[in-house]
């Protein structure tokens, strides 16, 4: 064996502007890389070997994911508290209903965004794996690709 390498295909598209903002505040890129807004999506792409950029690309999605989880948790807690409060205090029925609908809508939107992000990341992984295989073929390797339990395994062999 010659070497072992760990790497990751990082998510590059993020949908929630509030969480993007919060994550950027907590985890700014030390080398100045930032996200670009494309309609409703925030995209970060990379083309260099800058260590600061690499660190940011690896850390930002983790912080963003945590921010989304925290936001969802907060909204669900508010939802639960609203139910408790309305049972105890004489909460104006109309206000309660309005708030309930608002929270439900917000939770649904966040869950939908998260699902879309996961799907997009899956597509991105598939696309990049195909590029990897094509590069290997160009370098003279014979690829053998298989999928086991959601994992993709690629065996590349080259005679020298």
């Amino acid at each position: 064996m010659s070497c072992r390498i760990r790497a990751s295909i990082v998510p590059i598209q993020f949908l929630n502007s509030e969480c993007v903002e919060q994550a950027l505040e907590e985890c700014p890129c030390p080398a100045g890389l930032t996200l670009q807004r494309q309609e409703t999506t925030f995209v970060v792409n990379y083309t260099d070997d800058n260590v600061g950029h690499r660190t940011f690309l690896r850390d930002f999605p983790v912080v963003y994911e945590r921010k989304v989880s925290e936001m969802l948790e907060r909204l669900r807690r508010e939802q639960a508290e609203l139910k408790e409060q309305s049972a105890l205090v004489a909460f104006a029925e109309e206000d309660r209903r309005r708030k309930e609908i608002e929270l439900k809508r917000e939770i649904k939107r966040l869950e939908k965004e998260r699902k879309a992000e996961v799907e997009e990341h899956k597509k991105e992984i598939e696309r990049k794996v195909e590029i990897m295989v094509e590069r290997a073929k160009t370098a003279g390797f014979v690829p053998k690709k298989e999928e086991i339990n959601g994992k993709v395994r690629i065996q590349l062999v080259r005679r020298v």
Binding site: M1, S2, C3, R4, I5, R6, A7, S8, I9, V10, P11, Y46, T47, R54, L57, R58, H121, K122, E124, I125, K128, V129, I131, M132, R135, A136, A139, F141, G150, K151, V152, R153, I154, Q155, L156, V157, R158, R159, V160
Partner: protein
Amino acid sequence: MTEEISIEIDENGEIFIETNGIRGPACIDQVEELLKDLAVVSDTNKSDEFYMDNSVQVARKDVVRRSQR
């Protein structure tokens, strides 16, 4: 002789790569070529063979230098 690279990618995009039969720094160069602009490398673990091959090269250069004197 054959050179082998095993790549495993999980559903989150985490990649684990192991090379076999590619000597010296060429193994890292080869893997970096495959991953360029596609993934972020977080850890590189070189085996004894990696360093052994390098030391063989250094020793050879040393022998050449000495014989030139």
